[in-house]
């Protein structure tokens, strides 16, 4: 994991005068599972295409094992790609699709037969050799695309939203499958997605991107527990983001109350953003609460209730296992280590409370819809 395989140094890229990447610096290590995560238009796919060689950066360097490869064409790179909608060759059957790369390398037909068989076994496609891609289901096409890329034994496999077109159940299965394949082959995976859950559950390292810039690089736990700014906090999971002031180390004031917390290292009375995850708030009787407010809505989510609480005009989202009735007055109790303090950033104030939150809005940002939009706009 220690040796750097790919380094991106100050990558800048514009399309039609619009800057889509503004100085990307990223190290990718051998055998790592890296996910580029961000909303559509954040530059994650462009970053991937630069690594694949399909785009050339305007400025900056792409370094592969210490060598600059900016001008190396895709077919000379030790990198293979699983494309967003697979791009299987429609005129070739599954066998010939998978064998495509090896035939170009002039590998003997006998070895090709063995390696294709091995790949099809690994991806669970045995018996599909003679089928044309158009006769396969989405999940099967996905597997062919993975087999076709992996058979070339690349150093790095690039995956561009590979599960975006699959339904939820299949997506979960394929996530496990991909993780297993990555372990089995020891190939570095660079994975692009806008699905935060996918990113958190699969990756060694998550790279959160927005507006052509990297916002945060870290392990899934770091990214979730220690978001660096309001964007990351809002994009990864649900979070209540409040304006606050650091009175001193481990003392923060927000929502009209002074709290003990565990963060420090800020200037005295520095303006900060406070993040509190919905599951970290305890619902208690009003008398015992640090804060109190009125429940404005309750949604049953199966293993918990999602409630919106109005506290002095700010709508908090809270997850609780005990039922509370709408319009009930409740108290909130927050442990010191549930309070995460972040420096102010350009995203401060952009992500307010949950007053505009509704299931309808949730539906609008449905991943499947976004994928379709992205494809259509390309």
């Amino acid at each position: 994991m220690n040796n750097k395989l790919i380094e991106l140094r100050s990558i800048v890229k514009s399309f039609d005068g619009e800057q889509v990447l503004c100085g990307i610096n990223l190290d990718i290590h051998d055998k790592e599972f890296v996910t580029l995560l961000g909303p559509s238009g954040c530059g994650k796919t462009t970053t991937l295409r630069i690594i694949g060689g399909f785009e050339t950066p305007d400025t900056g360097e792409v370094v592969f094992e210490g060598k600059r490869i900016n001008d190396v064409p895709p077919y000379k790179r030790a990198v293979n790609t699983v494309f967003q909608k697979y791009a299987l060759f429609p005129h070739l059957n599954v066998y010939d699709n998978v064998a495509f790369g090896l035939r170009l390398q002039k590998v003997g037909e006998e070895e090709i037969r063995d390696r294709v068989r091995e790949m099809l076994t690994m991806t669970g496609l045995k018996g599909f050799e003679m089928r044309k891609p158009s006769t396969l289901s989405g999940g099967q096409q996905q597997r062919v695309a993975i087999a076709r890329a992996l058979i070339n034994r690349p150093r790095v496999l690039l995956l561009d939203e590979p599960l975006g077109a699959l339904d939820l159940k299949l997506r979960k299965d394929m996530q496990n499958e991909l993780k297993r394949i990555q372990h089995a082959t020891g190939i570095t995976f660079i994975y692009v997605t806008h699905d935060q859950e996918e990113a958190l559950s699969m990756s060694d390292t998550v790279v959160v991107m927005a507006d052509g810039k990297i916002q945060q690089i870290g392990t899934p736990t770091d990214i979730y527990n220690e978001p660096v700014n309001a964007f990351v906090a809002d994009f990864i999971g649900e979070s209540n983001i409040l304006d606050g002031v650091m009175l001193s180390d481990k003392r923060a004031r927000f929502a009209g109350h002074t709290f003990d917390c565990v963060d420090g290292g800020f200037a005295k009375n520095e303006q900060v953003d406070i993040v509190i995850r919905p599951e970290d708030v305890d619902v208690v009787p009003v008398t015992r609460g640090m804060l109190s407010g009125t429940v404005s809505s309750v949604t049953f989510k199966g293993d918990y209730y999602e409630i919106i609480v109005d506290i002095a005009g700010f709508k908090w989202m809270i997850e609780t296992s005990d039922y509370v009735a709408p319009d009930e007055k409740i108290g909130l109790y927050i442990e010191p280590d549930a309070i995460h303090v972040m420096k102010k950033s350009e995203y401060s104030g952009k992500f307010g409370d949950y007053s505009t939150f509704s299931e309808e809005m949730e539906h609008l940002s449905d991943p499947a819809l976004e994928v379709e939009e992205e494809v259509a706009s390309e």
Binding site: F54, A87, L88, F89, H91, F100, L104, A149, N152
Partner: protein, 275 residues
């Protein structure tokens, strides 16, 4: 869908039905009638039997059409490829240049080609002025082929151009990703995926080439008798409608066979456009 069509819908179809009956079915029936009757109007197979004496003409026509189609494909595919990959603005210009000759009547184009190539024509007077020997092109088989290629090239380029520009860019990227250089991408991915366009192009050049009469008369200097010429002669001079109809019938069958063969190649995908 089970609803009966309204009167208006039926009425809208009438002009087309009339057109089809008058100008497509009617003439076809006439061809059939004349092919199987003698001058007295009674049923006869003598016209068909007579066709054996024209077999060399059929053979020659097929050869000419095949050669012209092959040249069109060899010239047309790279041209279509370059056009499809050019900048949008250059694409428009190239398309205009390609289409421009097609706005002029085929007869006029062929005639002007003849005057260019003729013994006293522009090419030869240029050669003369440069002190070189003149060449006699008109009257040779090469001139007929040249005429066919010149007249029918756009019919080859357009369908191929369409299928190349419709080709999903991701297939090219996937090919490059898996190790194809430019040439390998062309031969392993682009060519096989544009077969429907190639089939359309071949059919659209082969069919008019095999039935043309004007090109062979003007540029062939009367030295080559193709099917089209023979049919024309039967109707124009000898008033042997019956033999002419029989030859036409055989030519139509030939064309249908060639289209059927071509459709077999394209997996019935793009070929449906033609038939």
């Amino acid at each position: 869908m089970k609803q009966k069509r309204s009167l208006l819908e039926k009425a809208a179809a009438v002009p087309h039905m009339v057109w089809i009956v008058l100008f497509i079915l009617g003439p076809l029936l006439f061809v059939l009638y004349f092919a199987f009757t003698d001058t007295k109007g009674s049923f006869s197979l003598s016209n068909i039997e007579l066709l054996t004496s024209y077999s060399h003409i059929f053979f020659l026509s097929i050869c000419f059409a095949l050669v012209a189609t092959a040249f069109c494909l060899l010239i047309g595919y790279p041209l279509a490829f370059v056009m499809a990959r050019a900048k949008p603005s250059s694409q428009k210009l190239l398309m205009l240049l390609l289409m421009l000759p097609m706005w002029i009547s085929l007869l006029i184009r062929t005639y002007s080609l003849m005057t260019l190539l003729d013994n006293g024509g522009l090419v030869n007077s240029l050669l003369e002025r440069m002190g070189l020997d003149t060449v006699s092109i008109v009257g040779t088989g090469g001139a007929v082929i040249l005429g066919m290629v010149y007249d029918f090239l756009p019919y080859m380029v357009l369908p191929i151009y369409t299928s190349i520009s419709k080709l999903d860019k991701r297939y090219l990227e996937a090919a490059a990703d898996l190790g194809c250089n430019g040439f390998q991408t062309l031969f392993r991915v682009v060519l096989p995926l544009t077969v429907p366009g190639i089939v359309s192009g071949i059919t659209m050049v082969f069919v008019p080439s095999i039935s043309t009469f004007y090109i062979s008369q003007k540029l062939g200097g009367g030295n080559f008798d193709l099917i089209g010429d023979t049919i024309e002669r039967q109707f124009k001079y000898a008033s042997t409608y019956h033999v002419g109809a029989a030859i036409s019938l055989v030519m139509m069958i030939l064309i249908l066979i060639s289209i059927a063969v071509m459709n077999r190649f394209s997996d019935g995908d793009g070929g449906e456009m033609i038939v």
